[in-house]
Structures are given as C-alpha cells and as structure tokens.
C-alpha cells in the first residue's frame, strides 16, 4: 500500500520557490547585506599591459587619499589557489599576465575612497611580448605564460606539460585510426573557431570576508555557486582546517558557471587577513566593467575535425584537435577541456577515435566553467562538420545523424557502453516541429530562409567522488526545512527538492522550505554545477526525506499500536484508516510521544541522506579509456528555422524547437525554464557574443555597451520545448540533468540553418551581421566556405583606421 498522498509531489507544475521575493525585489543578495560602520571596502588596481615584469608599485599617493587605510600587493599574500591546478595567485607577484590582472588592492573606509585610492596607485612595468593566439601558444614555446608550470600542484586527471603553454592535454586513443583513414571511402577535414564569451549574469561578483582578530576563524559571504568548494579551495590555499572557514552563500543573481569554484574570494581575503585589518569585514564589489576580467569566461577555441566516412554513410573514424583558449589560468578551465574530450564523438557511434584536447594558456582573462562545460564548444564544431559532411555526401543531414547515432549498448569514445535514451524520437519530433523536410518561402521579401538541426549530448563533468548530503528537519507544526547546499540561482532546484520531499513525506509543497547554503549549518555538497543537483543532491534529499518519514511512521505505529503499513501520511496529516484516525503533524514530532506504556519517545525528527557516485573510473591518461567514464548522458536536439537579410547580414529566427531526454521531469516548470533560457542563451551566443581584444590584449567589450547579448527583440517570441522520459538507472526518480544541455546546440543548429539559407558555410562564431554580410559577398565571389581567424582580426585592427584625430 502506498503510504503517501500529496498533490504537490514530483512532476507537478508549481510556483517556484523565491519567485515572489524576486519579483518584489526583496530577496537579499550579497551586496544587500549590511555590516555597519565596521565594514571596509576594497578595490583592485589592475594591470594595463598584457605581459611584463612589475618594476615598482608606488602607492604613496593612494595612502594620502582620505579614508584609505592600507594597500596590499601580491607578495603580501603569496598563496596559490585552484580547484584542479594551482596556477593562480589572487594578485600578480613579480609579473603580470593579462590586461586586468589585479596588481594591488586598496582598502578604505568607503567604496569611493577605495576607488579614488586605486586611481592613485602607479605601477611601472617592463613590458614583454604577449601571446594571444592559442594555436601559436600551443605550437611555439617562445613565450611561456607560466614558466613555473612544472611547480604547480594539480590533481591526477589534469596533465600540464611543463615548458609549454599546455595546461592540460586530454587524449582519446581508440581503435585503428590511421588504418581507418587510409582505407576510407570519403575523407573530410573542417575547422571551426569561436572566441571567448561571457556569462552576462545580472548580479556582478560581490564578497565580504571577515577574519577574527584573536583566532584563525574566517567567515566569507559571497555570491558563489558552490559554498563548500569555496571553503575547500580557500582552506587548502591558506592551510586552515575546514571548520575554521565558514562560507555563507546568499541568493545569487545568475551564475551560468561564472560563479563556480572560487572567483574573487581569495582577492578579498588578501585584505581581510592583513594584520592591520583583521577583525573588520572587508567587502569587494566587482563593478560591471571588471566582471569579465575577474572571473571565468567561456574558453575560445580552434577546432580541427577530420572524419572518415564509408560509402554507406557510416562514420568510420574521427580525429579531433581542439585548442581551447584558457587564457591566463586553467585551474578550472582544465576540466571543460576534458569534458569535451571524453565526449568527443558527440552523440554518434564512431569505432575509431583519436582526440587531442588542449587547454592552452594565453595572455587573456581566464577561461573556466560556462553552462555546457566544453560541450557547446565541442558540439558547436562537430555538429557543423556532421552537417557539412552530410551535405557533401548528398545525404539528408537528419538521416545521416540517425544512421550514425550512439544507440544503447554501443561504446562511447571512452569505451563505456551507452545507456538507453530517447534521442531518435526527439530528432524526429524536432524535425517535424520545424517542417524540416519542407523548403518554405521566406516571410520577408528578399530574405533567404533555411533550416538546421543539431544534436546535444553531455554528461555531468564531475570528479569521480563528487558527493552530496542533505538534512530534512521536521518542525513541531509539520512544516519542513531542507538543508541542501545546492545554490538555487534561478534554475529552480529548491522547488525540485521541495517536490521530492512532498512526494516522500506527504506534506504540501508550501510547508517546505529550502535554505540557501551556509557551510556552518548545511551538510556537505561538492558544487552546484554539471547539471548534477537534482540528480546527485536529489538522491541525498530523497534519502533524507524517506528517513524522516520512516521515523514518523515508526513512532505513530507504536503510538497507535498498529502495524507500520496501516499508517499513511496524506496532505500533511497522519492517517490510520483502520482506526479512523487522522491527525495533523504537530509538536509531538518535535517533543516526543507519550507511548501507551507511559514512556515519552521520539524527539526532534531529522532525516539525513548522503550520496556519492559509486562507480566512475577516471579515463586512462594515455588512451582516455574507462569502463565507466561518466555517470550518464543527457541527450537532445534543436531545430531552427531562420531567415537572413543578404543586404545587411541580419538573421531572424522564425522558429526553434528543442527537446531533451530528461529521464523524469521532477519540476516541469523548471525544465521548461531551463530549455527556454538555454536555447535563448545559445542563440544569443551564436548571433553576437564575443569577447574582442585589441592588438595589445585590451578587452574592447568589457561591459554591455559593446559586449552584446540578445534582447527580446533578437530572439523568437517562444521556444517549442519538449522532453522525453527514458529513466536513468541510478537516480532518485529516473531523472537526469538538463540545466546546461539546452545551451549546447542552438548555435550549431542556427549555423546549419544559415548554411541551408545561403549555401555558404560560416566556420567562425559568432554569426554577427557583419560576418554574415561578408559571407554573402564571399558567396557571390564563388566561395563555399567562410571563416575569419579570430586572432587575425586583432591584426586587422592593428592596421585599421581607428580614430579621426
């Protein structure tokens, strides 16, 4: 007999947690917290050159500014930090490596004084030649961004190559690649490039650090996705025990990976741990213009893909060379490079695989986590190549994809057998939804219309031991509090957890609260990344809820003297139909039950749950092979119908359909939101997003005046979103992640649609109006391919007429 009844369990459409407060503007973000007059403010002085030795830092004048109390420089705080590879110090020590790197930190009584003080710090450099082009940096070692690479600590699955600019080199060696290429019927080689892009979250970074004056105790309030990982990186970096570092993560205003791991916290800490400052909280607020140089950006890439295809249209072999432009640090960026590498046949079965994925250091802001984590990059290239090859072979691109699909039981590029999934039916539906088979007339006179499809695939890119734990507390009135250190940054995980708890304990959703993380009270969770939370933390939450329920039922069974299976919890009341009893959960849950034998039993009910993925094996460093390289994959497809104005290069999306196999929709409103949001973000990235630099490595797009993201006027008014539910094996309810996946394939689908519309293949993202216009002109000169080497543009810029003076 099912013991639980609820109307607000998994699969229900419910209002999301905290939406009301967000709409009212009352939710307090880190910058909204108040610390009184004790609070100090910090402001970074940033490098104005891309590479060079620091000769002197003169801050005499800064100290004269009213309110400035201290200036801290790199050598005052020489700790190295990093999640996978400790290649980062909070401030430059001895040399700078990109324009924008922190060189000094001015601490003052007010934000204005700190800003004014920072403007008065004079830094002298001995300039050295920088390197910006990742392929040049990877293949020519004249300029080393990190000459000390061999000294840096790193985890075992990251493979830095000393005396080069290669921070990690991920390899797949599977099958007989050379032979397959030699014997193949058709051979193709294509190159695709994409610049670094930025997350564009609304809330810029903000952090407050306070170190106790008398004892080594540290509290950090920060806009971070992963409170516990901040704690771990900081504690390891400065050699503190974990319980001496408390990290509080208030609600964050969007992350998309940009607030994963540690971002600005160590920089703030450089001030807070200063002997003259200890005891006072220090706040570091990053203004918009400094965000892209203070935190992760998505790595740029240059991808070369070679395919061997048989005359039956079956892919025989693939050879991938991916140069990821990881900028000045790969402490986090090493991992998306791996993630791309161990998924480097996409959603296809390819028997022979050779992959080299490199994270390459350059003198630019640092690459790291970004929604999709290596897969929008990888699939952004592969799905163009698949489309190109299908077109060149005269096979319908949808048919070609289906013919080579990575079906259940077939090995992925790491040798792990693929699990069951609904991709084939998703592809069919996406094609139907955009009328893929029909060549339709453009809606706008003089424009060109086309349609394109691309597949998505991604596994959670987590260390083998990325764990989660949760606590479910039943209050004395039947309401429930959940401590699960996931960050709900708009993806809606807290709603999903509340639905799980409602499903398991039978109390209404509205009675259930999920709290924002505080490492002091919450049990451990690795990170809110990798689309893992509803899966991994979901396991812990479900377990904790079941444990709490079992305790409740056990107590009632003893109290009512009936077997446990006669008791159910329905809509917040405990019921025994046999006895005709129905009682709301009340203070006895907290204070104990006077049992029939007169003894008080029970006490506050706390359910706990812990989860760690049981059987991941890191891919072999030489071959990339592993019996189980990842926990599971989420797959999907995107179809896009576009029109292009040949006169200006403008693209308008008429229609977009996107479907994913989510295993089970726990919170459908959340999934809908994730698919819509990721699709729009992917379209935006494809159409216009690019971090552009001048020939000196200065970011020309530091804020939203020139870093453009799509507005509502640039995207379709709706996204035709849907999902399939082929259950995942090891999962709370069969569910798997979908938060990142919707960002993976809109760009290649759109690019494929533009190819269909124009008949010329654009190999360089983004498809800006100017670039599309240039492609149209190239087409009229008889060309079939168009690409602009992103680093060549810097050279063009060097020669261009840039001002009228």
């Amino acid at each position: 007999m099912r013991q639980i009844k609820t109307k607000t369990g998994i699969g229900r459409w419910l209002p999301r947690k905290f939406d009301r407060e967000k709409a009212a503007g009352t939710l307090e973000f880190t910058d909204d917290l108040r610390f009184g007059p004790e609070l100090l403010h910090a402001r970074a002085v940033r490098s104005t050159i891309a590479r060079g030795r620091i000769l002197s830092i003169d801050y005499e004048d800064a100290l004269k500014v009213d309110g400035v109390i201290k200036v801290v420089v790199g050598k005052d705080f020489p700790h190295h930090f990093g999640l996978y590879l400790k290649d980062r110090t909070p401030m430059a020590i001895g040399q700078v490596r990109y324009v924008g790197e922190s060189v000094a930190l001015v601490v003052a009584e007010s934000e204005d004084a700190a800003e004014e003080g920072a403007a008065h710090v004079k830094v002298e450099y001995d300039e050295l030649e920088p390197v910006f082009d990742p392929v040049k940096a990877a293949t020519n070692n004249d300029i080393l961004v990190h000459p000390d690479l061999h000294k840096y600590d790193h985890v075992g699955f990251v493979t830095p190559q000393p005396n080069t600019n290669i921070a990690t080199w991920f390899r797949i060696r599977r099958g007989e690649v050379d032979k397959a290429f030699k014997e193949t019927d058709h051979f193709f080689e294509e190159t695709v490039t994409c610049p670094q892009i930025a997350h564009g979250f609304l809330e810029t970074h903000c952090c407050i650090c306070k170190h106790e004056k008398a004892s080594p105790e540290l509290t950090i309030w920060t806009s971070a996705q992963s409170a516990f990982t901040v704690r771990e990186i900081i504690a390891k970096g400065i050699g503190y025990p974990l319980n001496s570092v408390r990290v509080i993560a208030p609600p964050i205003g969007g992350g998309f990976g940009g607030k994963a791991g540690m971002t600005i916290e160590a920089l703030c800490l450089a001030a807070a741990m200063d002997p003259d400052i200890k005891g006072r909280p220090v706040k570091l607020f990053i203004p918009r213009e400094e965000v892209m140089i203070s935190s992760w950006v998505r790595q740029g890439y240059v991808a070369r893909i070679e395919l061997a295809v048989s005359k039956e249209g079956k892919i025989q072999a693939i050879r991938n060379s991916f140069w990821f432009d990881t900028g000045v640090s790969a402490e986090y960026g090493a991992n998306p490079v791996r993630s791309a590498g161990y998924t480097s046949t996409g959603a296809y079965y390819i028997p022979n695989v050779w992959t080299d994925c490199y994270a390459v250091y350059t003198n630019k802001p640092f690459g790291g986590a970004y929604r999709g984590f290596g897969l929008p990059e990888f699939m952004g290239a592969l799905e163009l190549v698949i489309d190109t090859v299908a077109n060149k072979l005269g096979i319908d691109p949808v048919e070609f994809r289906k013919r080579n699909l990575l079906k259940k039981g077939l090995p992925t590029c790491t040798g792990m057998p693929m699990h069951d999934h609904g991709l084939e039916s998703i592809i069919t539906k996406v094609a139907q939804k955009i009328n893929y088979d029909q060549k339709e007339e453009p809606i706008r006179p003089g424009w060109k219309r086309g349609k394109g499809i691309a597949l998505a695939i991604k596994a959670p890119a987590i260390p083998a031991d990325a764990s989660s734990s949760a606590i479910v507390k039943i209050n004395g009135d039947g309401t429930i509090e959940v401590l699960a250190a996931t960050m709900d940054m708009g993806q809606g995980t807290y709603s999903a957890f509340a639905q799980m708890v409602s499903e398991e304990i039978g109390v209404p959703y509205d009675w259930i609260k999920v709290h924002f993380p505080d490492t002091k009270s919450h049990p451990y969770d690795w990170q809110t990344v990798a689309s893992r939370s509803t899966w991994s933390m979901g396991m812990a939450v479900k377990q904790a809820a079941i444990s709490a329920r079992e305790q409740i039922i056990k107590l009632y069974s003893e109290f009512w003297e009936v077997p446990e299976d006669c008791i159910s919890i329905e809509y917040g009341s405990v019921i025994c139909s046999k006895l005709g009893k129905s009682e709301r959960l009340d203070e006895r849950i907290q204070n104990g039950f006077k049992m029939p034998d007169g003894i008080l039993k029970g006490g506050p009910i706390i359910g706990t749950g812990s989860f760690t993925p049981p059987d991941i094996v890191y891919p072999d460093l030489e071959t990339g092979q592993s019996p189980k390289s990842v926990v599971h994959f989420t797959v999907g497809a995107v179809g896009i119908d576009v029109e292009v104005d040949p006169g200006t290069g403008q693209i308008v999306v008429n229609n977009v359909a996107a479907g994913y196999d989510v295993g089970k929709a726990i919170s459908p409103v959340g999934i809908m939101g994730q698919i819509e949001g990721g699709t729009i973000q992917g379209i935006s990235a494809c159409l216009m997003e690019s971090m552009s630099y001048d020939e000196h490595g200065r970011l020309l797009t530091p804020d939203f005046t020139d870093y453009k993201i799509a507005t509502t006027m640039d995207v379709p008014s709706s996204v035709d979103a849907f999902w399939e539910e082929v259950p995942e094996e090891l999962s709370p309810y069969g569910n798997r992640g979908v938060g990142e996946h919707s960002m993976i394939s809109p760009a290649p689908a759109l690019n494929n649609a533009v190819y269909d519309a124009l008949g010329i293949r654009i190999h360089s993202y983004p498809l800006s109006r100017e670039r599309v216009f240039k492609a149209v002109r190239a087409l009229s000169n008889g060309e079939k391919d168009f690409w602009e080497w992103p680093y060549e543009l810097e050279q063009v810029f060097r020669r261009a007429k840039k001002s009228w003076e």
Binding site: E116, T648, T711, M713, S768, R769, E770, F773, A800
Partner: protein
C-alpha cells in the same frame, strides 16, 4: 564613481550663474544617460552637476506661428515621439526616436542631450540635419542660434562656450507635403548604437520634389549628402539607377573608422545599403499617403 555635488536650479538664470561661477568644474545635465556613464567610467570628472530638470521653461515643446517646432532640453525622447506622432510631423525624427536605445531609457534621454553629447553615432543628429534644425543656446552673454550641422565640431566636441547651455532645438516644420525615414545598422535589434545610419527626407514642393540625406556614425561631424540631394532634386520618380547613384555619392561623402562595433568597410557598405533602402522607403511612404 567619484563624488560630486548636484545642483538643481529652478531658473535658467540660476543655472547660468552656477556655471559661470564654477568654470571648468560645473557641467549641465539633461537626462544624464550619457553624462552619468561617462562619470562612472571616469572619462570626465565634474565637481558639480547642474541638473536642468526643474527649469520649467526648458521642459516644453512649442510650435510658433511661423511653424517652428521648439523642443526644450528637458523633453524626453518618449514625450517628443508622442508629440510628433500625434501631429504627424517630422517622420524621420519619429523614426529616430524609436530607434534610440529602448523604451525605458527614452523616458530619460533627451534630444538636446543627444546633440550636445556630440557622439558621432547620436541617433537624433542625422534627422535633425535633414530638417535644418538649429540649437538655441543661452549664456550670461545672451542667446545664440547655431545650426546642428555647425554645432557638432567633432567627437564629443560641440560649439558651446564655457558657461553656455543649449536651451532648445528649433526645427522649421516643412510647409509642404512629404515624408521621411531614419534607418540604422546595428549589431542587434534594440539597445544598440548605430554602426551606420541614414536619414532621408522627401519634400514635395509643387513642381519640384526635394530630397535631403544625412549619414550618422560614419564621420566625426554631421554629414549631409549635398551631392546626392542636388542630383535628386526634381526627380519624383526614383529609378533604380538614381537610387544606386545616390548610394554611391553617400559613400563618397563619409569617412568611417574601424572599431569594436564595426569595420570601416562594413560601415561603408551599410551606408550604401541604407541609403538605397531609405530612398525606396520614402518613395513607398509617399505613395501610401497619396
């Protein structure tokens, strides 16, 4: 952003007094949508902001008996657009208002501010040049009238003397039937500065159709394409070759730069394309009215 003092005078005289008393330190503010951002980015460091918003005399739109539209410096773009739209006058300027930023920003941004800012991509400038608009100024020395074409001297440089304020922009309303439009090339469809832009005005004087063409964001100072205007004068039927030739003349009249928003080459191509489209659109609009 560095600290500053905010003055909010209620009369023009008081505003001029503050400016005269604080040479080099005080600057006037209309909507502040350029000014505040420049201050935040530290490209300028005024000690005193003279907010003109409370000066009633500078907050209205009037039409004089001789048909001169006069727009005070506090008039926001949204108010201006509504006003022109209701009266169905100055269509190129209506288009320009609508192409500027987005609706919420237009609740603050002003036309006078757009012109005094003197940024080459200023969206209001080309249409104002086509309509022969002039800037009316005031200082303790008196008032001046300067045509918009002469008012902008270069990027972020205008003809105002220290202590002088732009009080209004005056536009003679065309006495004859006609139409106009403003087209703008951008990286995205809202909230973007022009890569290149073209305003076109068509005036149907009895017997002689007259055209005016002006380009934005492609030259340090405003550009009227007088050569094309001369060639088109009297042509009521715009043939493809006339349109093509006009576009050529427009390209010859401009001198764009390369920056992060666009290359010089693309800007030239867009001037060509937008000129063609603007002329065609005027032709279409005039037929719709007829």
């Amino acid at each position: 952003m560095l600290a500053f003092e905010l003055e909010r005078p209620k009369t023009l005289e008081a505003a001029l007094g503050i400016l005269a008393d604080n040479p080099g330190k005080a600057v006037p503010k209309s909507g502040g949508t350029d000014l505040i951002i420049w201050m935040k980015k530290r490209t300028i460091h005024p000690k005193i902001l003279v907010d003109l918003a409370l000066i009633k005399d500078l907050s209205n739109i009037t039409i004089s008996e001789n048909g001169r539209l006069s727009v005070g410096t506090n008039v926001t773009l949204n108010r201006l657009e509504d006003y022109l739209d209701e009266r169905e006058v100055l269509p190129a300027l209506i288009d320009a208002c609508r192409s500027h930023s987005d609706f919420t920003l237009r609740n603050k941004a002003t036309m006078v501010g757009n012109v005094t800012a003197a940024v080459p991509s200023g969206d209001m400038i080309p249409a104002l040049c086509c309509y022969d608009a002039e800037v009316e100024t005031a200082s303790l020395e008196g008032t001046r009238h300067i045509s918009v074409l002469d008012f902008i001297l270069g990027p972020k440089k205008n003809a105002l003397d220290p202590g002088e304020i732009a009080t209004r922009i005056n536009i003679p309303l065309p006495e004859v039937a006609g139409t106009g439009c403003y087209l703008k090339s951008t990286r995205r469809s809202a909230l973007d500065l022009a890569q290149a832009s073209v305003a076109c005005v068509m005036l149907c004087r009895t017997g002689v159709t007259e055209y005016r063409l002006s380009c934005g964001a492609v030259s340090p100072i405003p550009v009227r394409v007088f050569e094309a205007e001369k060639m088109l004068r009297g042509k009521s039927n715009l043939t493809p070759s006339l349109i093509e030739h006009s576009a050529e003349l427009a390209v010859e009249a401009v001198n764009p730069i390369t920056d992060v928003r666009s290359s010089r080459e693309y800007r030239l191509q867009m001037i060509r394309e937008l000129t063609k489209r603007a002329l065609a659109l005027c032709q279409k609009r005039i037929q719709e009215v007829a």
